[in-house]
C-alpha cells in the first residue's frame, strides 16, 4: 500500500506535476524573502502574514463580484505600499542592527498582523473561486486544476519580470549594489534608505501576488501565515542567499520531494521529511565549509 506509486505509474506523473506547480508558487514567496534577506540582512518572520493579507485582498474582490484573478494585479500594488509603510515605521530602525533584533521585530509584526486580520476579517477559513476548471491528461488519469497552472504561470511571469527589472532598471541596479556593499553604494551616491524601502515594498508586493494566487488555489485564514514563512525560509536556506535561479530550483525541488515523501513515507511524514532534508543540507554545508578552512590553512 505504501508503494502505491510504483504500482500505478501515472501517480508518478501526477506527483511530479503537483510538486512542480506547488513548488513554483512557494518559490515566488521565497524569492521575495531571498531578495530582502540579501539586501537588508533581515529575516522576515511576517512573510507569511503578508501573503495572507494579499490573499484577503483578492478574496474581498471576489466577494464584491470581481474575478479574483485580477487580485494578482491589485494586490501587489496595495501590498507594495503596505511594505513601504512597515519599513518606515519599524524595519528602518532595525535594518543595521543584529539579526536577532530584526527577527524579534518582524515576529512582532507577524503577531500584530495575525490579530488585526482576525479582528478585521474574522476567524473563518475562506477562499475565492476562480471557476477555471480542470485539465485532464492521459485519459483522465492525471488531473491538474487550471487554477494551479494559472498560479504557476503568473509566478513565473513575476519572477522573470523581477530578474529583468533588477538587471535593467536604475533602482534594480541600486538594489544590487546595496546588496553587494551598502557602504560603498552609499559613498557612490546611492540613497540606501530609499533602496531599502523599495526592497521591502517589492518583497511585500511579491507576497501580495502569491497571496492572491493562494486564495484561488488553496484557502486563507488569519493564522495560516507561519507555514509559508517557514517554507520560504527553507527554500532560501537550501538555495543560498543571493541566488535567484537557485531559489526557483530549490522551490520546485522541495515541492516534488514533498509529494514523493507523501506517497512513499505517508502523509504524516511529509513536512517532517522536508525538515530532515533541510538538516542534512545544513550539515553537508557545514562539512564542506570545515573542509575548506582546513585546506586554506
Amino acid at each position: 500500500m505504501d508503494f502505491l506509486i510504483f504500482q500505478v505509474p501515472m501517480l508518478t506523473v501526477q506527483a511530479v506535476l503537483d510538486g512542480l506547480l506547488l513548488g513554483i508558487l512557494f518559490a515566488l514567496i521565497a524569492y521575495g524573502m531571498a531578495l530582502q534577506w540579501g539586501v537588508m540582512n533581515i529575516i522576515n518572520i511576517a512573510q507569511g502574514d503578508l501573503v495572507i493579507l494579499g490573499g484577503y485582498i483578492a478574496y474581498f474582490m471576489y466577494l464584491y463580484g470581481i474575478h479574483p484573478a485580477w487580485g494578482v494585479i491589485v494586490s501587489p500594488i496595495i501590498m507594495y505600499f503596505v511594505g513601504v509603510i512597515i519599513y518606515k515605521l519599524v524595519i528602518n530602525k532595525v535594518v543595521d542592527r543584529d539579526l536577532f533584533i530584526s527577527i524579534l521585530a518582524t515576529f512582532g509584526i507577524s503577531i500584530l498582523f495575525m490579530q488585526l486580520m482576525n479582528f478585521a476579517f474574522g476567524a473563518d477559513v475562506v477562499l475565492a473561486n476562480s471557476g477555471y476548471g480542470t485539465t485532464m491528461l492521459f485519459d483522465n488519469s492525471v488531473t491538474l486544476p487550471n487554477s494551479k497552472i494559472f498560479s504557476a504561470f503568473i509566478s513565473i511571469v513575476f519572477a522573470i519580470g523581477l530578474v529583468i527589472y533588477m538587471k535593467k532598471s536604475k533602482l534594480g541596479r541600486a538594489i544590487r549594489a546595496t546588496a553587494q556593499n551598502a557602504r560603498a553604494a552609499k559613498i557612490l551616491g546611492v540613497d540606501t534608505e530609499k533602496v531599502y524601502a523599495a526592497t521591502f515594498g517589492i518583497n511585500a508586493a511579491l507576497c501580495g501576488v502569491a497571496g492572491a494566487l493562494i486564495s484561488i488555489t488553496f484557502t486563507i485564514h488569519p493564522y495560516m501565515g507561519l507555514p509559508y514563512t517557514i517554507r520560504s525560509f527553507m527554500i532560501v536556506i537550501v538555495a543560498g542567499l543571493g541566488n535567484l535561479p537557485g531559489v526557483a530550483m530549490s522551490g520546485m525541488g522541495l515541492g516534488v520531494f514533498e509529494e514523493f515523501a507523501d506517497y512513499i513515507l505517508g502523509t504524516e511524514f511529509r513536512i517532517g521529511s522536508v525538515f530532515l532534508l533541510l538538516v542534512l543540507i545544513l550539515v553537508y554545508r557545514r562539512f564542506k565549509l570545515s573542509k575548506k578552512r582546513e585546506y586554506l590553512k
Binding site: 501517480l11 482576525n118 477562499l127 494551479k148 484557502t219 485564514h221 488569519p222 505517508g266 502523509t267 513536512i271
Partner: protein, 412 residues
C-alpha cells in the same frame, strides 16, 4: 505630594473594596446563580466561540424570562461571567482558576473546542466545580475518570460511525473499502479511532489512512491515491479548513467516489463557499433543526432555529444549539438537587435523564452523553444552485432520502 498620597490611598481603597465585592459576587447572590465561562472571543476559534456564547446567552434569557430556576421554593435567575481565553489552552486554564478562586464561581460552563476543555477540566476537577460543557467531544475527555465534567454532546469517535454503517448497509451488509484522511489533532484523531472501530465491526477494509499535517492546505496527494484505488467511501476530517480544501480539490481533480463523509461542513459554510461542488457530501452533525426532539423552553428545533435567527441574524450552527442545551441541563439539575451544594448538584447532573430540543441527554460514567446519536445530513442543491442540508441518517430522523452513489463528475 500629600495630594498624591491621598489619591493613591483612595484608589487602593476602592480597588480593595472592588476585589472583595467581586469575591462576594460568588455563585449564588440574592436571586442570581452565577456561572463562569472562558470563551474564545478572539483568536482562531473566535467564530465558534461566539456561536457558543450566543447559545449560552439565548438560553439564559429564555430560562430567566420563563420563570428562572426554582430551588428550595425560591426563584433564581441565571447570570454568566465571561472571560476571553484568546483560543489559548494555557490562558483558558488560568481563567478557570481565576473564575473559581477569585470570582468565587461554583458552577462552570465549558469553553469551545476539545483542546480548551482538556485544559480547563483538570482545574474544575481539582476544585470540585461541576462543569457542563457543550463543545469538547474528544474521547480522551471521558476516559480520565473526571467526576465533575458533563458533556451534552456525543463523543468524537461517534461522528462518522453512522456513515460507515450506512455504507455497509447499502452494500448489502458486506464490508466496504474505506479511504480516510484525518488532521493530526485530538478531535480528528478521535473521529479516526471511531472509523477504525466501525470498520472492524463491519468487516470493512481501510485502504488509505492518511494523517494530514495541521498546516494542511493541499490534499492533492491523498486525492490522487483515492483516484487510483477507487474506494467505496472517502472520509475526511480536518475542521473547517479540511472540509473546504477537500471539496475544492475533489471538484478540481474530478475525484469520483460513491460516498463522501466529512465533519465541520456546517461551520465551514460549505454550500455557501462552494455552491454545487459541495453537493452530495455527507456531513456529521450533533444537531439539525428538523429533528423532532422537544422541550418546554425552545419548543423544538425549527422554533429554536427561527428564534435564534431573529435574535442574532444568522441560522444557528449546532455549536450554538448544544451550548443552549447545556443551560437547560444545569437548570434541571439545580431543581432536582434542591440545593446549591456542589456535591449534590454534581450527583443530580450525573442522574440527568431528559429531553431537550437538542436531543436526549443522559450521561455515562465518563460524563459523555450516550443518549443522543449523531445525525448525517447531505448537501442537496436544486437546479438553480441553491443548496440545503437534509438529514438522511439515521433513518428515524431522515427528512430526505440519501443519494447514493454520488453521480460521476462527468455526469454532473
Amino acid at each position: 505630594m500629600k495630594i498624591k498620597n491621598i489619591i493613591i490611598t483612595f484608589v487602593s481603597a476602592i480597588a480593595i473594596l472592588f476585589s472583595t465585592s467581586v469575591v462576594s459576587l460568588a455563585k449564588v447572590v440574592g436571586d442570581k446563580i452565577i456561572l463562569g465561562a472562558a470563551i474564545s472571543l478572539t483568536g482562531k476559534y473566535s467564530s465558534n466561540g461566539v456561536h457558543t456564547q450566543n447559545g449560552y446567552n439565548m438560553a439564559v434569557d429564555r430560562i430567566n424570562s420563563m420563570g428562572g430556576v426554582k430551588v428550595g421554593g425560591k426563584t433564581y435567575m441565571f447570570d454568566i461571567i465571561y472571560y476571553d481565553d484568546e483560543s489559548n489552552p494555557k490562558r483558558a486554564a488560568q481563567l478557570a482558576e481565576r473564575l473559581i478562586s477569585q470570582d468565587g464561581v461554583e458552577f462552570m460552563l465549558g469553553p469551545y473546542s476539545s483542546g480548551l476543555t482538556k485544559a480547563i477540566a483538570p482545574v474544575t476537577e481539582k476544585y470540585g466545580v461541576p462543569m457542563v460543557e457543550a463543545n469538547g467531544a474528544s474521547r480522551s475527555l471521558f476516559t480520565k475518570g473526571y467526576k465533575y465534567l458533563f458533556a451534552v454532546l456525543a463523543p468524537a469517535n461517534l461522528y462518522l460511525d453512522v456513515a460507515i454503517r450506512t455504507a455497509v448497509e447499502l452494500n448489502g451488509g458486506k464490508g466496504v473499502r474505506i479511504a480516510q484522511a484525518f488532521e493530526q489533532d485530538a478531535f480528528s484523531q478521535d473521529v479516526r479511532l471511531g472509523i477504525l472501530d466501525a470498520a472492524k465491526d463491519t468487516g470493512s477494509k481501510i485502504i488509505i489512512d492518511d494523517k494530514l499535517p495541521k498546516e494542511l492546505n493541499d490534499m492533492a496527494a491523498t486525492l490522487a491515491k483515492v483516484k487510483a484505488t477507487k474506494p467505496d467511501v472517502l472520509v475526511v476530517s480536518g475542521h473547517t479548513k479540511g472540509a473546504l480544501t477537500a471539496i475544492r480539490q475533489i471538484a478540481e481533480m474530478k475525484v469520483d467516489v460513491p460516498m463522501l463523509a466529512m465533519t465541520h461542513c456546517d461551520a465551514a459554510k460549505l454550500s455557501k463557499q462552494h455552491g454545487a461542488n459541495s453537493q452530495y457530501a455527507l456531513c456529521a452533525s450533533q444537531w439539525h433543526k428538523t429533528l423532532t426532539y422537544k422541550d418546554d423552553f425552545f419548543t423544538d428545533g425549527m422554533t429554536y432555529d427561527a428564534d435564534f435567527t431573529k435574535e442574532f441574524g444568522y441560522a444557528p450552527p449546532y455549536q450554538a444549539a448544544e451550548s443552549s442545551a447545556a443551560l437547560l441541563v444545569f437548570k434541571d439539575a439545580f431543581e432536582r438537587a434542591g440545593s446549591f451544594d456542589q456535591k449534590k448538584v454534581r450527583d443530580a447532573l450525573a442522574a440527568t435523564n431528559m429531553q431537550t430540543f437538542y436531543g436526549n441527554i443522559k450521561f455515562a460514567e465518563g460524563g459523555q452523553n450516550v443518549d443522543k446519536p449523531m445525525v448525517l445530513f447531505q448537501v442537496m442543491c436544486d437546479d438553480a444552485g441553491k443548496c440545503e442540508n437534509k438529514v438522511v441518517a439515521p433513518l428515524k430522523w431522515a427528512s430526505a432520502e440519501l443519494i447514493h452513489p454520488i453521480p460521476k463528475w462527468s455526469d454532473r
